[in-house]
Assembly symmetry: D2
Homo-oligomer: 344 residues x 4
Amino acid sequence: MIKVGIVGGTGYTGVELLRLLARHPEVEVDAITSRSEAGLGVAELYPNLRGHYDELRFSEPDPERLARCDAVFFATPHGVAHALAGDLLERGTRVIDLSADFRLRDAGVWADWYGQPHGAPGLLEEAVYGLPEVSRDQIRQARLIAVPGCYPTAVQLGFLPLLEAGLIDADHLIADCKSGVTGAGRGAKVPSLLAEASESMKAYGASGHRHLPEIRQGLGDAAGGEVGLTFVPHLTPMIRGIHATLYGRLTGEPGDLQRLFEDRFANEPFVDVMPAGSHPETRSVKGANLCRIAVHRPGNSDTVVVLAVIDNLVKGASGQAIHALNLMFGFDETAGLDAPAMMP
Amino acid sequence: MIKVGIVGGTGYTGVELLRLLARHPEVEVDAITSRSEAGLGVAELYPNLRGHYDELRFSEPDPERLARCDAVFFATPHGVAHALAGDLLERGTRVIDLSADFRLRDAGVWADWYGQPHGAPGLLEEAVYGLPEVSRDQIRQARLIAVPGCYPTAVQLGFLPLLEAGLIDADHLIADCKSGVTGAGRGAKVPSLLAEASESMKAYGASGHRHLPEIRQGLGDAAGGEVGLTFVPHLTPMIRGIHATLYGRLTGEPGDLQRLFEDRFANEPFVDVMPAGSHPETRSVKGANLCRIAVHRPGNSDTVVVLAVIDNLVKGASGQAIHALNLMFGFDETAGLDAPAMMP
Amino acid sequence: MIKVGIVGGTGYTGVELLRLLARHPEVEVDAITSRSEAGLGVAELYPNLRGHYDELRFSEPDPERLARCDAVFFATPHGVAHALAGDLLERGTRVIDLSADFRLRDAGVWADWYGQPHGAPGLLEEAVYGLPEVSRDQIRQARLIAVPGCYPTAVQLGFLPLLEAGLIDADHLIADCKSGVTGAGRGAKVPSLLAEASESMKAYGASGHRHLPEIRQGLGDAAGGEVGLTFVPHLTPMIRGIHATLYGRLTGEPGDLQRLFEDRFANEPFVDVMPAGSHPETRSVKGANLCRIAVHRPGNSDTVVVLAVIDNLVKGASGQAIHALNLMFGFDETAGLDAPAMMP
Amino acid sequence: MIKVGIVGGTGYTGVELLRLLARHPEVEVDAITSRSEAGLGVAELYPNLRGHYDELRFSEPDPERLARCDAVFFATPHGVAHALAGDLLERGTRVIDLSADFRLRDAGVWADWYGQPHGAPGLLEEAVYGLPEVSRDQIRQARLIAVPGCYPTAVQLGFLPLLEAGLIDADHLIADCKSGVTGAGRGAKVPSLLAEASESMKAYGASGHRHLPEIRQGLGDAAGGEVGLTFVPHLTPMIRGIHATLYGRLTGEPGDLQRLFEDRFANEPFVDVMPAGSHPETRSVKGANLCRIAVHRPGNSDTVVVLAVIDNLVKGASGQAIHALNLMFGFDETAGLDAPAMMP
């Protein structure tokens, strides 16, 4: 049994960590911090947790208390982990950061996209990008994990087999992504109101979204060089879920694409390659730490289409963070992550 | 480890049984029947189950195979359990019926509301109405359980404390209930289409709904005599959830209503009396076997208002059925039913 | 052709006024004010209006300009019309206030519910409560209209025939109301987010809601004395629509209730009594200035159930305001209000 | 005033024709046919129409009666217009077909995609594809109009300026389209249930959809030769709306793309080119006969992204059909089509 802390627990990734950890056999949540809600019981903010965590209250961030944890999750806006991670690592507490703070290896690129200097460039070298399907062994040894973003998770898992095999033109990748509204967080903003976002569909950030450099970095690693990517996210009238529709142009005869995907993910507990001809639905992964994928080649043309779905709050955030924790502490990889998705 | 069968597993209560039983430590699903889908893998119909039950296929109903199970759930339209339950009971298999077949003690009333003769009146005497908060001890001894309907569960739990204490006029009870669309089942009907039921609210069955006699029977038991009930269900644009808003007229000074409710359900693992002044949300029980209740007395008038929410597929059907199973077989009451609700 | 102004046009009732007035043959919108959005074109905030009102921009409230209008709509939070209405009336501009400022005849009751002194008690005597089905003639003569609230419109229209005929016990009225989220306005609040309000149902304000005294006042007029009312509003996961389910106890044999309702509203262009046995759907009035009503007497008991639906932004606000305008200026009552509802 | 008939009026395009024609100053609906609902009043099926068309009932298709109409709309499954159009044309009645029967010029291609022989190949030569932005003059002279499909309308309008100007590689076009559920019609099918389609996103027909050849034909005309197109439609949890996200690869420096689009549609009443940098929302065209378009060139790369939104039932079906009627009969182009979209 290890002790964990959660910094910034009032957002959706915070409550989702609590929901999943409630059933984790090896983890006890010792502290959850929130400046704005300090003193409030977690079940007062999230009534779904009544009967679980009845003693747990949001507290002011206390470095001493966090440092007594074996691991600390950051479910915070960018910048917070920059400020606190170094100290925790020095005291021997491992850090799993769900924010964007350590996802980009290049501090200058980070600064460009986030409009402020990188706050902890000295930690970048040891930070491990926590996509287990790519870097499982490094995660096992890591002290500091950058949990991938939600869009980057779906897009990378979908493109990886094709790029690693060198089958598509890496200069012209297209990722058309659709996300539920929890992707925008729990902030009170007019465009996220039910009255505004329901019964509508729209693209956003078509000219550049912060997840773009993260995806480019990961795909570049797979391709062995820079990639050209057009990434258009869309706001979809649903609570959870990301559907990534990926387009690549084949550079030659690709062989058996279905087999390629099945082999690539054969031993992955959290990637499910659907049967040929399938169209995965986001609801089939609702609440579960899973990416379901299907690959199509319409009309036998030179364009390959990959469909990849995740729950943005689970495989796209809190579930993947717990997966990393399981790897880091030698637990069963699926501990706390074995419940089926909820459907309907 | 016991073996269970599921008859009629293609509907929403069937898949919900599978979702919940996937994590039950004492139960193995041995057979699931469906005439229409015989041969199909369960995960082909319900992709959320891929990776669970990979060997399980829908099969033609086979009495021999079902009789080898320790218990059989019926997740069928009315009439089916009438035909099959008796034989299973004779062979020593316990029966947990999620349909309406054994909910009414009076075969004549059943025939009136269902438009056909009761098919197994001889079993009515031993059938136990499976509302654990009322008949836990009888359920423990039972061989045949009638799992309560979804509306009846919410309405009874909300009115019970008041009726048992004799505080309200039992001749004039009002239950205004709102249900998500899964309450109408998985049948392909025009009014259940997203294009018809979304962005709309409507009452239905205002002049009489089949759950009315069941609710009346249960409330009558609590009141110690016949009750007068007006019950108006409404179709609500959401997938899961029932919100029951109950109105009763106080016959005198009631004392501390909050305390009354807390005491009545003090030892109930699946009823959560919210703090005074609360308004429970259906989403706070989504996927969980819980009824959350709040009691109000607006303006200190003589009208008491009870708000009760459940997930119609869990506490209103499959979860409550598993609760009964746990009681019948001496398992921990919360086995398979301990995960928090999913929110958001 | 008359000129109208709109004060506070950035909320949902503001844009709905513009949508409906775009097709009004007798009205030109001359000014629309907003402190926060002054300078912005209306179609920049509301892209549905692109191609209409292309010259119209939000402006700082300018009393001179407003006073040049024939009529001014207030689509503002409470308190604003208190401050500005008197001056406009003095200059000969008629005022149609969609806020709560002039709905209650008693300034003291207003102060109790709104937590501040009434700002224009001297105008209360001439203010006319703008429910045309009750006070058409007074509206025709009025200079200052208090447009009824959304819940009050549905509840009053549903109870009026019964109370006017003295058929039900006026001391024990129950109004169980369900509203879409636009009822809460366009403010950025966490509970109104799609991620929070979708896929859920909850009551709110069960212990007292600001529409309660307004409804009581109107029902009291119909009953000829004080009434006892329990009013429980519910937040429903849809954009528009109110469904009021009303319960009254008959004091004797009521005669033909269907006929009673049909006769009461026989000449009303915006109230539609549905055939006996109907269950009106909110979507059947989406975008239209209509209240559809059905009356039921379940089981021939002593409880009568009325189902009334409106679009909260139209018959519950902006449409009813335009109806008042039509009456005040002698236009055809249905001018600008004759389009069918949009369904699906 | 002309008389029109509607064949097959019980589906969503049928009721939408009635909703829009209710306000058309030059059109009277004389007959509406439905074999399944013959005898039923239209407002009994569609309560939003109560108070409009009170005399109009669905009738058995009667060729004599239809032939007395000036124009007949077909809102039918494919094959029906094949059987009836020729006779009507001979009798002098003009035909506006909303089905796919006359959209493809090549009867063989039609037969391949629809799995049955073309039923009226002799009429293909005179049928005019009813996209006014391309063939306004031919529509004015036409007797038989093939109203474009919903996806084809959005995709063609978005790609036209680029293809006509020869700016993109016509061999590698990508159209990623998202549609609300009314696109699937009013048929009672399990995947269209609210419980199945809500809170989920999925692609379908990724390997080939019936709208593909229609889009290819139209784009080919614009490009002056065959095009290569990958078209992936997605089912989106909303009632109305199509969002087309289009990707093309520039073949050289394109010049001012914003200007190109604005010039192309400068005189089009029903195409709205949004300001540079915009992201059109489907809700901004809900209920209106409009296509709103924005063009982006992310990162100044060689990939151009076009965002185009329509209401699938209006500009994607019934509205566009009425636009054709207006052109054919010399009415104002916007007659019956001038109301703003409804938002929120």
